[in-house]
Symmetry: none
Subunit: 255 residues, 2 copies
DNA sequence: CTGCACGATACCAAAACAATACCAAAAGGG
DNA sequence: CCCTTTTGGTATTGTTTTGGTATCGTGCAG
């Protein structure tokens, strides 16, 4: 554990109530990975001795982490970093690209372009992207497969102003956007189910009428501008989303 | 807080009574976003020292902001910029009950019980709930409707130890759990799509084979113990989830 | 002079903060 | 199996910080 909980470490935490300083110290250690899931913290008494605080103050600093599920306490045994199912990054997995998502599962990824270029926008694209009159839309449609099995159809629409050259996108759309400084910070997704029509079923290699997972996503820049409007269709029988959610503590909390 | 409340800052406020100058200064800081919801103001005594005013004058300047709800004061704690009402409730909506979800949309809610009682567990329930041998499972199955239209089938399973009396649940399951101090802080959901079988289609009043949104959820206590295992089936044509996501700051992984 | 808005001083009470002392469950060694 | 040690859990108390309030003085307009 080393130099983690020394009195000096407190100076850098920015002041405030002692128990909050400890809270921050531990929270950051967990977030940064210096404390791994399953790791044990020093006992409360040790922690108190190390930091020069009282034990109750240490407890108070730890309490919120326990309440929020980040730490687990077992009396007679110790305090441990909660075993993470998969961080809360999972919550973001809905927003991560298909590519990364599959890579994390250790599966190969192929993608085949169906359409890629500038087109006259459909009404729903004008609505979602807030297009001006006469403005064209960059459309990227492809079938994503894993290990040779087609899993999803992805149809991304972007304003011409944001992506003037859709043919330049060969791999990750997000990577291209990021290079251009257009990094979305927020997204709204709508998830529903629908029976696949003949065309989409054909693309996914299943029978028409099979259930598909339909996801519409609109991503926003920090400024509030829309970056992309994507409609995806996943095979319901071969793909599912895992999302981890966290609940806020009961009462109001002080900043 | 930096250079926000210096005596010099007052000169630019256009004169008039001192307490009004302070009032304007704070109001503008909030309006401009330099003070964010939840931020704490310096204590009244600090503020007085900073500005060179008396504390009562500071109070008077703050009073109107408090009265109008823009600031919140907690004695012993401090003065804070009023939090937005919406909170982070968005991300939690997936975890809130069907009841609350619909109420928020201003729609009526009816629910009809299909089954409610203690049963011998199915294998997947043993797996998900971590049941011991011989332990029974409390099962709650109902059809949720809104405005007379059936929208979802909800099948909740809980360990007998956690819910010994399933018949006591007449309304919100979460409310009952909360009363017993069993408040989940974390949940993992799996979302997929499936064609409805004859029985489920019948319950939802649609034709067999129609696409349904299937959601499996496992909720956990702070200790890591499983609280509930719920499988829901939503009509794909009549219901969708809206999820708002936030992206982590630049570092690490990125779509 | 009176009335009133303004501002400062002094004191009050609630809440948060922190420390001491003690309790009870669980782990571990004989 | 019992006993000891270690662990987290709790009750109690004192101190500090914070907003809340009562009171008084000042200056200006009527």
């Amino acid at each position: 554990m080393g130099e983690l909980f020394t009195p000096e470490a407190f100076e850098e935490t920015g002041g405030g109530p002692l128990y909050l300083q400890l809270h921050r110290l531990i929270a950051e250690a967990i977030a940064s990975g210096r404390l791994q899931p399953g790791d044990s913290l020093p006992s409360e008494r040790e922690l108190a001795a190390m930091t020069g605080l009282s034990r109750v103050t240490v407890r108070k600093g730890v309490a919120e982490l326990v309440a929020s599920g980040q730490l687990v306490q077992k009396r007679g045994s110790g305090t441990f970093v909660a075993p993470k199912v998969e961080k809360l990054e999972q919550a973001l997995s809905l927003l991560t690209s298909f590519t990364e998502d599959m890579a994390r599962r250790g599966r190969s990824v192929e993608s085949r372009w169906i359409a890629r270029g500038l087109h006259a926008p459909a009404p729903e694209e004008v609505m979602a992207l807030g297009l001006g009159v006469g403005e064209k839309v960059a459309r990227l449609e492809r079938v994503r497969s894993s290990d040779g099995v087609p899993l999803a159809i992805e149809r991304a629409s972007l304003s011409q102003a944001i992506l003037p050259d859709p043919d330049g996108v060969t791999d990750s759309l997000y990577a291209v956007l990021q290079d251009r400084g257009l990094r979305p910070v927020r997204a709204v997704q709508r998830i529903s189910a629908a029976n696949l029509n003949a065309k989409d079923a054909e693309l996914l290699g299943v029978s028409p009428g099979v259930a598909g997972l339909r996801i519409e996503r609109i991503s926003y820049l920090p400024s509030g501008k829309v970056v992309e409007f994507t409609r995806s269709l996943y095979r319901g029988d071969a793909y599912d989303f895992a999302v981890e959610l966290k609940l806020a503590p009961e009462g109001e909390r002080n900043p």
